[in-house]
């Protein structure tokens, strides 16, 4: 029980940290400073809102007879405001295209690795290290 308590406290702290950075960013943009209490209030609201989102997502997934929450459920959670819904579907398309691209590259690379000798393999890893995901591509 106390373990669970500290776990949620740490997550709250993580949210608080990120919210403070967001406020700093927005504050620079509109020449405002945020008081500590205001930042704490925004963090607490975000934490509660996330709890509401999570329960919605779980219910949506269960309604679709799934146990895994997927992108469609998140889109459904963003339905209340049209512009937010549009933005979220745009982002989700972006995400799926990125994932597809990564998968395609990974496939290509494993093909190279099995067919080629040592030289093309070295070239492939050299080219891919700039992308930062060579580790899981090779794993």
């Amino acid at each position: 029980m106390s373990d669970e308590f500290s776990h949620s406290q740490r997550l709250k702290a993580a949210i608080h940290f990120t919210v403070a950075r967001f406020c700093e960013e927005v504050g620079q943009d509109c020449q405002k400073k945020y008081s500590k209490l205001a930042i704490a209030a925004i963090s607490e609201t975000t934490f509660k809102q996330c709890d509401i989102f999570a329960r919605d997502l779980e219910a949506f997934a269960r309604h679709a007879k799934r146990t895994t929450v997927n992108v469609e459920d998140v889109k459904l959670a963003a339905r209340r405001s049209t512009s937010l819904a549009n933005y979220i579907s745009e982002k989700s398309e972006e995400l799926t295209s990125i994932t597809k691209e990564q998968k395609g590259r990974r496939k290509k690379q494993t093909g190279k690795r099995t067919s080629g000798g040592s030289l093309p393999e070295a070239a492939a890893t050299g080219a891919d290290s700039s992308m930062g995901d060579d580790q899981d591509a090779l794993a």
């Binding site: 967001f22 406020c23 509109c30 809102q49 146990t67 929450v69 989700s92």
Partner: protein
Amino acid sequence: MDDREPEVVFKKETVGKLLSLSFRDEKTKVSGDAVLLMAEMLKIFVQEAARRAAKQADAEDSDTVDIDHFEKILPQLLLDF
């Protein structure tokens, strides 16, 4: 462009753990893309809260955004999400 400080985002891990903390059923899981999309949604939520509070502070001629400014915009914010 990418030499500047990295963009502020919620970490994928944090959002994933946060979601699983609130699930009633421990069998419920979240796909990777869904977690990233949720991180995006929370980002919008926080930015919207910060901007609306700043606007409220501006309307009251205050340089610092205080908790009462945020309290005033809170009901509409929650209705919009």
